[in-house]
């Protein structure tokens, strides 16, 4: 196996277009899969030498977060946790303190697990990936990137350089909750991200609802958003959200939870998540 650490996007895409090449960001999934021989890449392309993958920038349009920025760095950023607390909380649920020192949004998404915690957080926040490839750069909303377990909408030579997170709306809030049967260090049985915006009178003007671990890919639940938009996010709206979320679930039975349990939990979790997002939106 070869190890390469290109310093430009062009050099990285050229290497990644070759046979058996894999992206190395934080390595917290990749190195485990190499060790267990699930993956045996011929070339590891360490993208951390590319400046854009390793920095967070902020302007009037929002944040650009490098695909290889670590969970610990997201948490330490001076304003990101204030503007998008749900996104940061979701990313900080990945693994232990040690894993947080290495894990990244790009890796969490491209590992291709339907239960990835940061992905519903990103989808709710309206994150859009900037993807570099041999034919140039394109953008794709995060909800369109993972197609099925371990299957991505990226073609040969493409990799995610960064994510664009929009500026937080004037009265906007987001939240992410997951259900696990213990308090720490586990994989989501259900994950839910909600972002919403209110007008000055407290009526919801925009919402995004996303679910993890209840389908073959993380879901953007448009009917969940519709249940909230135009309401005061009162009990009636939350009941509609709960129903819409349960209707969107297509989970499997596995050791973490049954189909029935996951559907039930998803509805409850969505209501709780929306209430936290609402509380945060009211405070700004």
């Amino acid at each position: 196996m070869r190890y390469e650490k290109p310093t430009t996007v062009e050099a990285a895409t050229a290497l990644l277009a070759g046979q058996g090449a894999r992206v190395l960001a934080g390595g917290t999934d990749l190195l485990v899969q190499m060790r267990s021989r699930v993956l045996s890449p011929d070339v590891l392309v360490d993208i951390k030498g590319i400046d854009a993958t390793r920095k967070i920038t902020k302007d009037a349009s929002g944040y650009t977060i490098g695909a290889a920025v670590t969970g610990a760095e997201l948490k330490e950023h001076p304003t990101l946790s204030k503007d998008w607390p749900g996104l940061v909380e979701a990313a900080n649920l990945i693994g232990s303190t040690q894993v947080q020192g290495r894990c990244s949004l790009g890796g969490n998404l491209c590992n291709g697990s339907p239960a990835a915690d940061s992905v519903p957080g990103m989808i709710a926040a309206g994150a859009v990936a900037t993807i570099a490839g041999p034919k140039g750069t394109r953008t794709l909303p995060v909800e369109d990137i993972m197609l099925a377990p371990r299957k991505l909408a990226l073609t040969a030579g493409e990799f995610i350089v960064s994510f664009k997170i929009p500026a937080r709306p004037a009265h906007g809030g987001d939240a992410y909750l997951r259900f696990i049967p213990r308090t720490e260090m586990d994989i989501a049985v259900v994950g839910c991200g909600v972002a919403l915006a209110l007008d000055a009178g407290g009526t919801c003007t925009a919402a995004r609802v996303s679910l993890g671990a209840v389908a073959a890919r993380p879901l953007l639940v448009e009917d969940g958003a519709k249940a909230l938009i135009g309401t005061k996010v009162d009990d009636a709206a939350l009941a509609k959200l709960e129903a819409a979320v349960r209707a969107a679930c297509k989970p499997i039975d596995d050791k973490r939870g049954t189909v029935e349990f996951r559907i039930d939990v998803a509805g409850t979790l969505a209501k709780r998540t929306a209430k936290i997002a609402l509380e945060r939106a009211r405070k700004v």
Partner: protein, 158 residues
């Protein structure tokens, strides 16, 4: 494929080693540099026995490639005591009998040191969450947490 020639800093000392692309930082520390304090537990980032600091950041050295340490700064358990003088955390682990077999201990000490550098006055809950990625199958954690809290108090001069 030629081996990588890595130049890095370990516990403040400049060091060089040769490694294959596949070798982890843990392999390099143990097999190339004879620094065997960091332990190989699970090799999958679950147990924390191989914890080291990389540019001051707590990581599992089994989930870092040796070649990635190029130009960086690595701190291991071997750098914790100053000569014969134990770090307060090490002393408190002995006083509280916070170890039995000792396999997890280097990783927990490195992780605890990183916590106290960031937060000199952690709550017990904060200690438990911070150390959630360090597994111990002997002590049941209570003594470990007490030793960390006690060391933190001593280091604050409380």
């Amino acid at each position: 494929m030629a081996k990588h020639h890595v130049t890095t800093t370990v516990n403040g000392d400049p060091v060089e080693y040769l490694c294959e692309s596949e070798q982890t930082l843990l392999d390099c520390l143990r097999d190339e540099l004879d620094l065997v304090g960091a332990k190989e537990g699970c090799s999958s980032g679950d147990c924390g026995a191989c914890s080291v600091l990389l540019d001051g950041r707590l990581v599992c050295s089994c989930l870092v490639l040796g070649v990635e340490a190029e130009g960086r700064s690595v701190e291991t358990i071997e750098g914790m005591a100053q000569g014969d003088e134990l770090h307060p955390l090490q002393r408190k682990f002995l006083e509280h009998a916070a170890l039995q077999c000792g396999i997890c201990t280097p990783g927990i000490l490195v992780a605890a040191k990183a916590l106290l550098a960031k937060n000199p006055d952690p709550t017990e809950t904060q200690v438990r969450y911070w150390l959630a990625g360090n597994l111990c199958r002997c002590t049941g954690y209570d003594k470990i947490v007490r030793a960390v809290m006690d060391a933190a108090a001593e280091m604050r001069g409380a």
